[in-house]
């Protein structure tokens, strides 16, 4: 039997309602919209705890039918009082049933709302420091995982119940939606730190492959490394001893356009972003800008003719080749000219793409400062990295042994790039031996790769996704290659349905307007209809996490990065150091 005292403070009784919406009559307490209550029920001998989220509140005075009249009397008759009113002052609370927890043996299972609590069942209000452990146990199937997002929010406070995302669901894509100032950057920093923590855990227990996560994190405002306030990812890196740091980031984690402009302490872990023209494929460009059929046909023919040299050849052409409609060359050149001006897309020199590939196959994070890039450069970089990594994994998935893999790689990837990385790739992908007939690993045994798509509507919009976008394939097939997109956007309504329908985890922060709120509710992986008012009152850092693999929409408070860093900084100091408190789920 459950110890009901551990559920929290007895708040009220279930009044009216059905398995979806409930009305509760409770004590006159300072309750806020968004709080979660627990309803203890024992119908037919089944002990269950229902979870209920407050969506609306109303003052209720017993024995008063006309509150306005009473308030008026109190105003007009200055000597009036309300006799014994305290016990008659109640709070009528209505809200949504989130589901219920039921113990089966030693384990708690959580179910979607398909039953109703008993008549006049007791309602408990969780209290931090008292209810955390019990709530944690009951919601373990809803909150466990490898990547910490925040703590379970109950109204304006939180319980010590960490909300995590299992890494195995990351390849089914994660969406982060929120307006400016909703806390997206802080959330990204918390997620990067969580990924580092998960990789550190893997170092301590290498059998647990699920813990290895790689992330290619676009930082459009260059704030992740340095941090917004006191600490940033650089603080995490610096808190590590040399041995740990080497294992976690090898020799770099920060990518930028201009290394010279990077602060000295970060510079040590920095590489400049340089991508060779020969590493660009026509599809990369089709994924980020619109081309007419004539233009793409022209580009394809030039690519078939010149292979990796296609960009240079087109840019050097002086007149439309025979058979090409007049003006096509000009139009294509206009679209490609930004490559000539770009400091990161270079005709010759040293590319960083191979090192990016190596980092992503090793379970590492990369913070990519795109603040000095144009939109087009940023989108193209994201696309090339995504396509390269997915093509490598695709080549692996299509292979039975290392020999097959080499053939597939040569076929699918730019020749110079593949030649450069194939030895390293074989080292990552082989199961045991080194010969061509050696078996290869399943991509699901490799680190999960998460690629951030910032300002997602610019490349994940229906127009571009209709064509030959790299992201269309990743949306649909990413799970096969253990590779997912982390889609960051201020808007949900403008994203393409392919990516929205494939997305299994959404972290919904405060949204800008009613249209986005509606779109967010419609897109959520679990039913959160009725949460409209919640979105309207959400504060910075508050989110509703929905996931198709969970029954309950989870209200989450994302802590400030500085807070979690200060809490955990000791864990980065290597073997002898104290490990941060282990959360037992």
């Amino acid at each position: 039997m459950l110890d009901r005292d551990n559920l929290g403070e007895l708040f009220g009784k279930v009044g009216v309602g059905n398995q979806t919406m409930l009305g509760i009559m409770g004590n006159n307490r300072d309750v806020s919209v968004g709080e979660i209550f627990m309803i203890y029920s024992q119908r037919d001998g089944h002990e269950r705890v229902f979870f209920f989220r407050v969506l609306g509140l109303e003052n209720y005075l017993r024995q008063v039918d006309d509150m306005a009249r009473v308030a008026g009397t109190l105003m007009v008759e200055g000597d009036s009082y309300l006799s014994g009113i305290e016990r008659n002052m109640l709070l009528s609370v209505n809200g949504r049933m989130l589901g219920y927890a039921e113990q089966r043996g030693d384990e708690w299972r959580f179910m979607s709302p398909r039953r109703l609590p008993d008549h006049l069942a007791d309602v408990y209000r969780p209290i931090r420091g008292k209810s955390d452990e019990e709530v944690c146990r009951m919601l373990c199937t809803q909150t466990d995982g490898n990547v910490y997002v925040g703590d379970l929010q109950v109204g304006e406070t939180t319980l010590d119940v960490p909300v995590m995302i299992p890494s195995k669901f990351l390849p089914m894509h994660v969406g982060i939606f929120g307006s400016t100032g909703a806390g997206k950057s802080n959330l990204m920093m918390v997620l990067i730190k969580s990924i580092i923590d998960s990789n550190l855990d893997y170092l301590h227990s290498p059998d647990d492959e699920d813990k290895r996560i790689s992330a290619f994190c676009i930082d459009p405002h260059d704030e992740f490394a340095k941090g917004v306030d006191k600490y940033g990812i650089q603080s995490v890196i610096e808190a590590m001893d040399d041995g740990t740091r080497k294992k976690v980031i090898n020799d770099f984690y920060y990518l930028t356009t201009h290394k010279k402009a990077t602060p000295r302490e970060i510079k040590r872990y920095t590489k400049e972003i340089r991508i060779l023209w020969e590493e660009i494929r026509p599809r990369d460009l089709y994924s980020i800008m619109e081309f007419t059929p004539q233009m793409s046909s022209f580009i394809d023919s030039q690519f078939n003719l010149h292979r990796e040299r296609w960009v240079k050849e087109i840019l050097d052409m002086e007149k439309d080749p025979d058979g090409t409609p007049s003006g096509t060359l000009n139009a294509v050149q206009r679209r490609l000219r930004f490559l000539e001006r770009s400091p990161i897309f270079i005709e010759s020199g040293l590319s960083v793409l191979g090192e990016i590939f190596e980092a992503m196959e090793s379970g590492r994070i990369l913070v990519v400062n795109t603040s000095l890039m144009s939109d087009m450069e940023q989108f193209l970089l994201t696309t090339i990295v995504t396509r390269t990594l997915s093509d490598m994994r695709r080549a692996l998935k299509s292979s039975g042994n290392l020999g097959d893999f080499e053939r597939q790689g040569n076929m699918r990837l730019p020749q110079p790039f593949f030649t450069k990385v194939k030895t390293q790739a074989k080292a990552f992908y082989r199961k045991g031996g080194v010969g061509d007939d050696s078996e290869v690993r399943d991509p699901r045994a490799l680190p999960v790769i998460l690629v951030t798509v910032e300002e997602a509507p610019s490349i994940l919009n229906p127009e571009l996704m209709r064509g030959r976008s790299v992201f269309k394939d990743i949306s649909r097939q990413g799970r096969k290659f253990n590779m997912g997109l982390l889609v960051v956007s201020q808007q949900v309504s403008v994203l393409d349905n392919v990516i929205l329908s494939q997305m299994n985890t959404e972290i919904n922060l405060r949204l800008g307007n009613e249209r986005e709120i509606r779109a967010c509710i419609e897109n959520a992986s679990v039913n959160i209809s009725g949460f409209e008012n919640e979105f309207r009152v959400m504060s910075r850092g508050e989110a509703i996490l929905t996931a198709s693999y969970r029954e309950m929409p989870l209200p989450v408070k994302i802590p400030l990065f500085d807070t979690v860093f200060e809490r955990d900084r000791d864990r980065y100091k290597g073997k002898g150091a104290k490990k941060s408190e282990k959360r037992v789920l």
Partner: protein
């Protein structure tokens, strides 16, 4: 029906009735009232001087109130009626020192003194001749805590005879002597047996239930300063026998007598009074004292100094026997209400013979307290203890529906036939 109500013909019918009332009753009342007008204005009406809102009473006191409710039709089993009776007692503390004015005393303390609140009782009788009277007498004996009938009847005769009859032996050589055998049994105290309709039986039971609850307050350790009842302190008399025609009349006097003994002010407040020309008195008060002034008005009887009012001369139950009625208004938004006090208490504690100023001071002190206890914003102008008692005892439609369902369940549990519990007319959707 609506098409008839909306016709000119119906309006004409009403026009005739109201014209008739105006021609006959109002004209007569107007004439009578004009004889009383000066006296009311100058002698009987006065203002209440309220306590300031932040007053600190030297001695905070308790105010108790009792109210009852019920139905004569909890269940109908052919010709057997099951009645349901509820009473609720509320005790409030003026509590001026802790600023929680008129704070209810704790439910635990209240229930320790008075038992569970609200209190429920049931009663039944059949259509067999005299069964209503017999069963009612049995129930009344059970309900009322005082069991000795002589002790129940004597206070009435003592008060009514001004102390001349204070024991059974004093009945000798009085008009009452021949009725003495009837005065020894509860059943024979019911001298309106021919008129025992269900409603009459129910009203009697309900009244006595409330009196029983009030008596429990008086015999408890609670010691309130005021004990308020809902209604009037009227007694319905047998015109031939010259004593109450129903046991409740005797019981009320026993209660009043005990209240005096315990030093508790017993009073009954009636919203639905039948004081003629009350609206004119209210208008007069407004004209004399100004709008918003809280006021009271004594309605004297023929034995009081200055005699009775002309306006109530031929009214059967006004002023009530052995009671003193006042009209009062503590809220300009509401019509005036009536409050009755035990006449014997009033003679001893309010009236100062030959000194109208001292009498008025006593009245003002009394109404000052009553006004203070009538400032709850939910029922401004009405004593809050009575309002709370009413809220606690009332049986809503839903309460009754559930009670009827439970009747059905209980009958099933004890192996009796289950019958529909809805009123019979429900069978025909009526």
């Amino acid at each position: 029906m609506l098409e008839k109500i909306l016709t000119d013909k119906f309006r004409e019918l009403l026009r005739l009735v109201f014209a008739d009332i105006s021609n006959q009753q109002d004209r007569r009342d107007e004439e009578e009232f004009s004889k009383d007008e000066i006296r009311i204005k100058e002698q009987l009406l006065d203002t209440v001087e309220p306590y300031p809102p932040d007053t600190l009473l030297e001695d905070d006191f308790l105010v108790a109130a009792v109210d009852g409710s019920g139905t004569d039709n909890l269940m109908l089993l052919d010709d057997i009626r099951v009645h349901l009776l509820s009473t609720a007692t509320v005790v409030l503390d003026t509590n001026t020192r802790s600023e929680k004015l008129f704070d209810p005393i704790s439910a635990v303390a209240l229930e320790e003194c008075l038992g569970g609140q609200p209190h429920l009782d049931v009663h039944w009788h059949s259509g067999v001749r005299n069964d209503a009277q017999k069963k009612m007498a049995e129930t009344l004996e059970t309900i009322y805590p005082l069991k000795d009938i002589i002790d129940i009847i004597l206070p009435f005769f003592r008060d009514d005879s001004n102390g001349a009859i204070s024991s059974i032996s004093d009945f000798t050589d009085t008009d009452y002597e021949k009725h003495l055998p009837e005065l020894r049994e509860m059943e024979s105290l019911i001298s309106r047996a021919q008129m025992l309709t269900n409603q009459v039986v129910h009203d009697e039971l309900r009244k006595v239930s409330e009196y029983a609850a009030a008596r429990n307050v008086l015999t408890s350790d609670l010691r309130p300063k005021y004990l308020l009842l809902d209604g009037a302190l009227s007694i319905f008399m047998h015109f031939v026998k010259k004593y109450p025609s129903m046991p409740s009349g005797f019981i009320l006097r026993e209660l009043a007598s005990l209240a005096r003994k315990e030093g508790v002010v017993l009073c009954a407040v009636s919203k639905n009074h039948t004081i003629p020309f009350a609206h004119r008195i209210a208008k007069m008060a407004q004209d004399v004292f100004g709008e918003g002034t809280k006021w009271f008005c004594h309605l004297p009887c023929k034995d009081d100094p200055g005699g009775g009012l002309h306006i109530i001369e031929d009214r059967t139950y006004i002023p009530p026997r052995l009671a003193v009625p006042y009209l009062f208004s503590f809220s300009q938004d509401n019509r005036p209400s009536r409050i009755d006090f035990d006449r014997i208490w009033w003679l001893e504690n309010v009236l100062v013979r030959g000194d109208p100023i001292a009498t008025r001071q006593n009245e003002k002190a009394l109404f000052r307290d009553l006004e203070f206890m009538s400032r709850d914003a939910r029922w401004y102008g009405y004593p809050v203890s009575l309002a709370l008692a009413h809220e606690a005892c009332k049986l809503s439609y839903e309460d009754l529906r559930l009670a009827r369902e439970i009747c059905k369940d209980v009958r099933h549990e004890i192996g009796l036939d289950t019958r529909k519990t809805e009123p019979l007319r429900a069978d025909y959707n009526l």
